[in-house]
Amino acid sequence: MQPKIKIAGDRAILVEFEDRIDPKINAQVRSLAMVLEKARLAGVQEILPAYRTLMVIYDPLEVNYKSLAAKINDGLKEAQNFELPAGKFFRLPTVYGGEFGPDLARVAQITGLLPQDVIRIFSETKFYVYFIGFICGLAYLGGLPEVLRVPRLSTPRTLVPGGSVGLAGGQANAIATDQPSGFNYIGRTFVRLYDPHIFPPVPFAAGDRIQFIAVSAEEALRAQGKWATELL
């Protein structure tokens, strides 16, 4: 499918690739993002890759839509031959169940698995980082095994502690800061996942892989406050 270039308001262009969540499609998005970053196009303020779309935010007083769309089109051709750099692989010590994973029993009940099997399957998964977004550098993770597909909580929690590791609707995430959420939280990591005092404020990038290694509470706490890249 030929990617589509669309207007998204008066200062953004949206490039749409095939409409599904797939690492191959995401690789096309990331390739285009890197090609456009390198091109340093005049008037471009931000380049935002997502699952299957890429947004280019521009200053319409510096560059007009048509000429920028043409340059993005050129970028699409160049991106076809672009070789993406290998991502990083993060292994984050995570304590599962008990007070740190209040929804483990619920996930076990819905999936019909034993709690230790939920932990084993989840902690052995190497999640793929599709992109960083939402709020506070949330990594959108792919790769959750189908057997762990469970619905969101019918009533979202008003406050989930930062570092919570969870799943819902076929997706997984680890939230960086305390926030409301309807995900099922089965574990917690104490590694810092976000810090607005440093640059970049997020340790992960699209294309990285993350594994939430099952450890004891003592071992998980030993990593408390460490920046995730310190564990590489």
Binding site: I7, L48, I132, F134, Y140
Partner: protein, 312 residues
């Protein structure tokens, strides 16, 4: 140097500048003054740069005690500012003395006022900006007892600076917000698009710096309200499954999975920052050329004002 002691923080008062740009790819919203017209004019009135940090005051009850002789300017919403019990003028520079009390007593028009101090406030800086964004662990709203610091200022401007009356924005007589349809307009039925463009929507009580939820006729989807999550910018209008639009603002999440019927054009975002819960909004479709023309006009107006205020 100390500027003010916060006697009463009011409903919501935060330090803002023009925001942090270039970090959306890390999941960090732009934040910054919601009404960037009023914020910049306030700064220019006291001889600051456009980027200087100032106070964004939402509604009333903010009470400040001056801890030094200060030069300030108040712009934006008319929240009935009083100095030592007497009403004071907005849209001009005003000199305060140590011990003066500044109180915002009510609301006459608009939602957000801006208070700039000569020198600029000096709150903590995160990723190149002093804009407070509590959800991102970047500062907190003002609390009672806070001491607000500012940059050292030696001189003061003797001359009066003011914005000519015909350039002061009115916040009550706008016909409609201009929008560009898309990028998911094809996910709505023609009847749904017509509903959106022909109805009045009321701003609900759920209205803050992240966005405004609107109430009114439901907008009909053609095939589902959910999309694979993608980037969103301030001004985007999401329509989730309940058919009621949400306009996203400067502290909104940077990605989301609801269909977007349209985006408010950039030139109308400052006005949007001044609408109140309970106000009615209508939407009018324009094309890209018209949106960019409006933005050009707004920039020209700001440049003219900057010249009038003789800012370096």
């Amino acid at each position: 140097m100390k500027a003010f002691q916060v006697v009463n923080p009011g409903i919501l008062t935060t330090i803002q500048d023009l925001g942090r740009w270039g970090y959306m790819k890390y999941g960090i919203p732009r934040s910054g003054a919601a009404d960037k017209f009023s914020a910049q004019v306030a700064n220019w009135l006291v001889g600051n740069s456009s980027q200087a940090a100032l106070l964004e005051i939402t509604l009333f009850r903010l009470e400040l005690l001056a801890l030094n002789n200060l030069e300030i300017a108040i712009t934006g919403a008319n929240l009935l500012p009083h100095l030592n019990g007497q009403p004071i003028s907005m849209w001009e520079n005003v000199h305060l003395k140590t011990g003066d009390r500044l109180v915002f007593k009510g609301r006459k028009s608009g939602l957000r006022a801006y208070l700039a101090v000569r020198g600029g406030f000096s709150g903590p800086e995160f990723l190149g900006s002093r804009s407070v964004f509590p959800r991102g662990l970047m500062g907190q709203p003002l609390q009672a007892g806070d001491i607000l610091e500012m940059a050292e200022v030696k001189d003061e401007q003797k001359e009066k600076r003011y914005l000519p009356a015909d350039l002061i924005p009115a916040y009550s007589h706008k016909d409609s917000l201009r929008v560009i349809l898309g990028p998911q307009e094809d996910r709505f039925t023609p009847a749904g698009i017509k509903t959106f463009l022909s109805s009045a929507y009321r701003v609900s009580a759920q209205a803050d710096r992240m966005g405004y939820r609107l109430e009114g006729p439901k907008i009909e989807h053609g095939r589902g309200a959910d999309i694979i999550s993608e980037p969103i910018v301030p001004g985007a209008i999401q329509v989730p499954g309940d058919g009621l639009p949400i306009i996203l603002l400067w502290d909104a999440q940077v990605s989301g999975g609801y269909t977007k019927i349209a985006s408010v054009i950039s030139a109308d975002l400052n006005y949007l920052a001044q609408v109140m819960p309970g106000d009615n909004l209508r939407f009018k479709e324009v094309d890209l050329a018209e949106a960019h023309e409006a933005l050009k006009k707004e920039k020209a107006l700001l440049q003219e004002i900057k010249k009038i205020l003789r800012n370096p």
